[in-house]
Amino acid sequence: MKKILLSAFAALFMVGSAFADTVRMGTEGAYPPYNFINDNGEVDGFEKDVGDMLCIRANLDCVWVINEWDSIIPNLVSGNYDTIIAGMSITAERDEVIDFTQDYFPPSPSVYMGLSGSDVDVDGGVIAAQTATIQAGYVAESGATLVEFATAEETISAVQNGEADAVLADGDYLSSIIAESNGEFANVGEVSIGGGVGMGVRESDGALKAKMDKAISSMKEDGSLNALIKKWFGNDANTF
């Protein structure tokens, strides 16, 4: 027993050999087309493409980590991964806790989605939103009754089963759901909230932020970022 404990203790202090620049990219994996888990069980989506290309340009070795949205910031600051790349809008509140790179996705409107033909009062009704999103913050201040859910998908179900009158989320997330719902859902209003989407890094991690900023700039300059935006969000999407 003593031996086991001792060797376990020794294992705790073993040093690894190589230190390549491995960057762990944290994402939610449940917000298509930004990020989702494909049929192969791997991370996929706009941010997977952008992240992989950024890592090539910044000469970093990247691995993808899935973490639920609720605890995505606490796990970044405690060092379980090094970036958040999960459709996270740049806001002043988040900027107090973590740092953001420049935006890699331009500001785009948020959409209220309700059942087709229903008369939704977006400022007084019951509105669903995902916890800790800019949309949840907006609904809380708009005078409507906010119902929060841990994942974006549960907000859609809430509208479907009548628990909420409408859901407020990024238009780019809702557009394909509206388009493929066979007329069950409709866009019942739009608002512009939040800035663009940026990559979250620890405040103490200035070096990584600088590398990523440079890589994003280079992708903006040669148009490869715009091409990816069009690939995932369609030709009408806002570009740089």
């Binding site: 690894g16 230190f19 449940a30 405690s78 060092g79 806790v97 994942t151 998908e153």
Partner: protein
């Protein structure tokens, strides 16, 4: 998995089903059953060990042990599980990394706590960020196992200490009359007789342990519930096979340039 699965558009009926239930995502779903069962089959004995130690400490004649034992049992049972499931793995992880940082990077002068950030040197990370994914998974699994063992140990401890109290005093006194030492009475009579009273409570705890496994995703382990949610979730055209994506992309581009 099968060769005919390559083009999803041609599939129908059972052929489609055989492809669907063998996607890599479904395979992860099946594997997660093994992970969860592995966890509970290891967590149960670990919880028994913690519980046994807790129960003995709580009944100890030495005041300090008694306080520690009773404190452990009462605290864990009184505070919501979810607090401990969040606290223990993160606190343990940070404690390990803190120690490693002190030993391996003693020359680094920057503080570990910088505002909200917990920053240790690259060599002190546990596991190293260069380590392969299975090492990270295994480490998360071990932390989860400790958390489950610690929390369920308190429940087990309470059941065991109750069972020990329930053993009829006369049986213990009979042992004394035969000249057994207190240690012998404990080992030969109390420990054996208590199981009769402990088993119903323990089987109930086993059920609760099984029910508590969805908390695993909180600890970063992709468990049965996570994959079931992932498989049962809303799917739009975005989820189509990669090959189709490229195809659409190529069709769309010329449109744009018209």
């Amino acid at each position: 998995m099968f060769s005919y699965c390559a083009d999803p558009k041609t599939l129908e009926g059972l052929m489609w089903l055989s492809c669907y239930i063998t996607t890599a995502k479904h395979m992860s779903f099946y594997v997660s059953f093994l992970v969860v069962m592995g966890l509970i089959s290891l967590a149960a004995p670990l919880a028994m060990a913690f519980g046994f130690a807790g129960a003995i400490a709580a009944r100890s004649s030495i005041r300090v042990f008694r306080l520690i034992g009773k404190g452990y049992l009462a605290m864990i049972r009184g505070i919501p599980d979810i607090v401990f499931f969040l606290f223990i793995p993160i606190a343990l992880d940070q404690a390990f990394e803190f120690l490693r940082h002190k030993v391996l990077c003693s020359d680094v002068t920057e503080p570990i706590r910088q505002g909200n950030d917990f920053v240790v040197c690259a060599a002190a990370k546990l596991p190293l960020s260069t380590a392969s994914e299975w090492v990270h998974d295994m480490y998360g699994f071990l932390l989860a196992l400790l958390a489950f063992g610690f929390v369920f140990g308190a429940f087990t401890g309470n059941v065991l200490s109750g069972a020990m109290t329930a053993v009829p005093k006369t049986q213990l006194e009979t042992g004394e009359a035969f000249g057994f030492s207190p240690r012998q009475i404990f080992r030969r009579i109390l420990l054996k007789q208590m199981w009769v009273y402990a088993l119903p409570g323990l089987s109930n705890l086993w059920m609760i342990l099984i029910k508590a496994t969805p908390l695993l995703f909180l600890l970063g382990i992709e468990d049965i519930v996570y994959w079931a949610k992932e498989l049962g979730g809303i799917k739009t055209g975005v989820y189509e096979y990669k090959a189709c994506h490229l195809h659409l992309f190529q069709i769309h581009l010329p449109h744009h340039y018209h």
